[in-house]
């Protein structure tokens, strides 16, 4: 099962209810300085910060939102893919190789 870690130096902040991922200097070599997240993406990010694995994310989303499992799985996969692509997330173990 894939496990993911949030990149060190990337923080999720909330400004007047808007969720922003912000990257400190060392992290900016690997990901954009800032990205705005919607509510559900911020929810997933917080779960990942708490050490959740992909299957934990699915469970958490199904508990939190009224959504069918295939749809939830698709949304989570899309979120993880985007976050990996932009460099905000790492696959566990990947960090040591950078």
């Amino acid at each position: 099962m894939d496990r993911y870690v949030t990149r060190p130096g990337v923080v999720l902040t909330s400004i007047c209810g808007e969720h922003m991922l912000l990257a400190a200097k060392a992290a900016r070599e690997h990901c954009p300085y800032m990205t705005q997240l919607n509510e559900s993406s911020a929810f997933l990010w917080r779960k990942l910060e708490d050490g959740a694995a992909a299957e934990d994310l699915l469970r958490a989303v199904l508990e939190e939102y009224e959504i069918a499992e295939p749809e939830a799985r698709k949304a989570i996969d899309s979120f993880l893919e985007q976050m990996l692509q932009h460099g905000y997330l790492l696959r566990k173990g990947e960090q040591k190789n950078e």
């Binding site: 130096g9 923080v11 902040t13 909330s14 400004i15 007047c16 209810g17 808007e18 922003m20 912000l22 990257a23 400190a24 200097k25 300085y33 800032m34 705005q36």
Partner: protein
């Protein structure tokens, strides 16, 4: 041993060691010499070389250092709840109003229009980069800084934040409240600090949150003409009337 100079920015005395002797003469007001060797801010030769890439090729070493000081000063203010912000800031009716936008988008034009249409009403605090301060009571204050744009418009004035206006050039004049959803990202980009640590990121986010909780924000799509400035003035005046401050 480097000579140390001090400038008070947004209420905080900051100590600088300059690499090039000409740099301090570009700063207005002139920093004053102080005793001691410790400083808060010093530009490294590496930073100068990096900074040079973003400036015209004929920029002097002193000018490059002068520009590099903005970012370092902005970061030095973050732990105190302050920062340097890219905007034209003017005082009107005991409040400070920030007009912010990417460069060359007409911030100074709005100020000059207003000054011409309503002489004596407003005072420029900083033409390009006011310094922000969060006070103990939670209010955000706007101060002048030594970086005031090519027109060098500034005055030694400070005032509590009255409102923010994000300017955008357009084919018509239209003003509307700026929602956090629309405003947070462009406004964050107007902070002159590029935070290096997580603490600095949180401090910058907290300052923007404080600004938006304290003061209303609008987006002004405009032609840069007199009508756009009157629209801006009427909007701010209506806001003051609503608050009972007009």
């Amino acid at each position: 041993m480097p000579q140390i100079y001090e400038m008070t920015i947004a209420g905080h005395p900051l100590r600088y060691a300059f690499l090039h002797p000409g740099t301090r003469f570009l700063l207005n007001p002139l920093p004053r010499r102080v005793e001691g060797e410790d400083c808060d801010i010093a530009v490294t030769p590496e930073k100068i070389e990096l900074g040079r890439n973003f400036l015209p090729p004929d920029s002097s070493d002193a000018y490059v250092e002068y520009r590099c000081l903005i970012e370092l000063t902005a970061r030095a203010l973050l732990p105190y709840g302050g920062c340097v912000f890219h905007a034209a800031a003017f005082a009107w009716r005991d409040r400070a109003w920030l007009l912010t936008a990417p460069p060359e988008t007409g911030k100074t034009t709005q100020f000059l229009n207003w000054q011409r249409l309503h002489p004596g009403e407003i005072t420029m605090i900083s033409g390009d980069m006011p310094a922000l301060e969060t006070r103990e009571d939670g209010s955000v204050w706007v101060h002048f800084s030594p970086w005031n744009g090519k027109e060098n418009l500034f005055s030694r004035t400070s005032a509590p934040l009255g409102g923010l206006v994000l300017l955008e050039q357009g084919r018509e004049n239209r003003i509307a409240p700026l929602s956090p959803r629309e405003g947070v990202s462009p406004l964050l980009q107007q902070f002159m600090a590029l935070p290096e640590t997580e603490e600095e990121l949180y401090a910058m986010a907290a300052l923007l949150e404080r600004m938006l909780r304290t003061a209303p924000a609008w987006k002004l799509i405009n032609l840069g003409d007199d009508a756009s400035t009157e629209l801006l003035r009427e909007t701010l005046l209506a806001e003051l009337k609503e608050r009972g401050e007009a």
